[in-house]
Symmetry: C2
Subunit: 343 residues, 2 copies
């Protein structure tokens, strides 16, 4: 039976994770879930972000379900670098998978895009680039201060995530991969990405390919999101592009993600793209759909494709029957989703 | 009389620049324009990108009007780094100014945003960050290859562009500056930007401020572009965000920019945000509005505010009377704009 570590985290994290667990329990009775108290509250209480002992315990699970991490009372970076990114890096979760669909019933912001037309997945690199933490500063707090951030890219890291993107594209209907980078300015990293992409593409003659600069891709995600199937890109570009993709498909309230270690050497982690949203925390009005869709990705990763499909179908039913303008209640949405999923 | 250097460049560059000059001549008779042959054609012919002698000549002008640079037949980076970025850096054009308005008559892609509601300007840093060219690679073309790109940020460079943003905001109606960065991951550069921003903000109690992570800003530009007034951000984030801003306000066919050296120690450069668009080059169908609006920014920078206002008004007239779906002819649009501007 699947052993899941649950990190509900901060803000709306606990509220939405509770619904994801409700749905998981409904479609896969007997899931063993262990809760881990990590996030802003623990940091305030103990000064701890992610003790080694907890990291070791997490490693013993099949997957991690995470709500949200971050709070305005904690200095920027402490929880992000110390907890969220620490887990992504320590567990070598190099495929940061972020699907975006415009679900029927969801009114996206784009006038000329109809539900069903957008169905893309961004394969964001998860363990390299500007997220490596290779930066520093000199002469801090003086007029001579200089601060650096370094993007580190290895052939190893770039090629493996590109391989994953092509493998995914091969299983999809349109079989197309778009590489997004900024080869005309970031010539060193861009060249590495482009050469690795071309090499992997040559092994997949059945998959169509294209290249776009990140600025152009950001624009086309707004003007023609329909054109994308699988997008592969680096860590920071993926961070930005997936929020645009979420925005054009109804908002981050619906955007799921998986931080995946495809080899299964470490647990993969599943989390809504949205943050802790402190402004609405505790009110019971956060949309749990993103967390529930993240749980569906978790099920898929653990080999429960049929259960995952039932969760996705439940979400489709929920979204198709929502009345625009009616404030939703987190718990009620969770109840409905759990009921739909086993109906 | 103003002395302008004209770099028409590649693809649709010459077509749109011709219209911008037509309009300039109409509103400011006697402008002295000197054409410089730079871009893909020259590179193919002579191997030269930007000879030092040409750089020195350009330095003697009051401003540069640039069309577009780049061609698929030239390796990525050669013209971008060697010409466009070379000029921005050599002439210390640290304010990359990119206004976005949703003009009446323009059907943007967002269903819930009405013309007139969006009027923002991105003040993009133009001489630092990941554009510094500080990168390299090791073990190229082997499985051990590593490639780096380094973002360099100085207090000097960051503070001066933030000062410019606050000064601009102080002259605008809403008086608001949004800092966009990624302080939770890029903690060193992010901290420098945030501290410099707070210091400058303290000198401007009349200007409202907010901070957003770049991923959130990318999303809000799609869902609520109305909320922005002045946005200040680093070079790469600005590159991406301004293409989103262009997309939500009718596309890069309308997006103007100025690479400005505010002190006037060097010439400022004005260019449409769009590229050379080789797919439509030579057909006479490129929209010259972005180039013409860039010429208006040039006029403003050179102190011809009244002439600039006439060009903007001409563009407003043109856009308000366009029939959707009718293919425009570059020359005819230029003729109409010139006529409107002196009417
Ligand atoms: C919270 C932050 C560190 C994180 C990221 O930048 O990856 C978030 O924006 C995300 O996309 O998961
Ligand atoms: C062509 C390229 C170097 C340039 C940039 O990245 O600045 C362009 O995208 C722009 O925005 O002016």
């Amino acid at each position: 039976m699947a052993r899941i570590a649950v990190v509900a985290g901060d803000g709306i994290g606990p509220e939405v994770v509770a619904q994801a667990r409700k749905v998981l329990d409904a479609v896969l009775p007997g899931v063993q879930a262990t809760e881990y108290d990590l996030g802003a509250a623990r940091w305030h209480r103990t000064g701890e972000v992610l003790p080694d002992s907890v990291l070791a315990e997490l490693a013993g699970h099949d997957a991690i379900l995470l709500g949200a991490v971050g709070d305005p009372t904690v200095p920027p970076g402490v929880l992000e670098r110390g907890l969220l990114l620490k887990l992504r890096f320590a567990f070598d979760q190099y495929v940061n998978l972020r699907p975006s669909r415009l679900w029927p019933g969801v009114a996206g912001p784009l006038g000329n895009v109809k539900p069903g037309e957008v169905d893309l997945v961004v394969v964001r690199e998860g363990t390299e680039g500007l997220y490596a933490g290779a930066g520093g500063s000199l002469h801090r707090d003086t007029p001579a201060e200089v601060a650096t951030e370094e993007s580190l890219n290895t052939r190893h890291g770039v090629e493996r995530v590109i391989r994953d993107a092509f493998a995914r594209a091969g299983r999809r209907e349109r079989r197309k991969v778009t590489l997004v980078h900024k080869t005309n300015v970031l010539t060193h990293a861009g060249s590495l990405w482009a050469r690795a992409f071309d090499a992997v593409a040559a092994e997949h003659p059945d998959v169509a390919t294209e290249y776009q600069h990140v600025d152009a891709a950001a624009m086309f995600l707004v003007t023609q999101p329909q054109r994308y199937d699988v997008v592969v890109t680096d860590n920071l570009f993926g961070d930005i592009l997936t929020d645009i993709a979420a925005a054009v498909t109804g908002g981050i309230g619906l955007a799921a993600s998986g931080c995946i270690n495809p080899e299964g050497a470490y647990p993969s982690m599943f989390e809504p793209v949205h943050g802790s949203a402190p402004d609405i925390a505790g009110q019971g009005v956060a949309d749990p759909v993103a967390a529930v869709l993240s749980a569906a990705l978790l099920l898929e990763q653990l080999g429960h494709a049929e259960a995952a499909a039932r969760v996705n179908a439940a979400v489709a039913t929920e979204l198709a029957t929502r009345t625009p303008g009616v404030t939703l209640r987190t718990e009620e949405v969770g109840d409905r989703l759990a009921a739909h999923a086993v109906a």
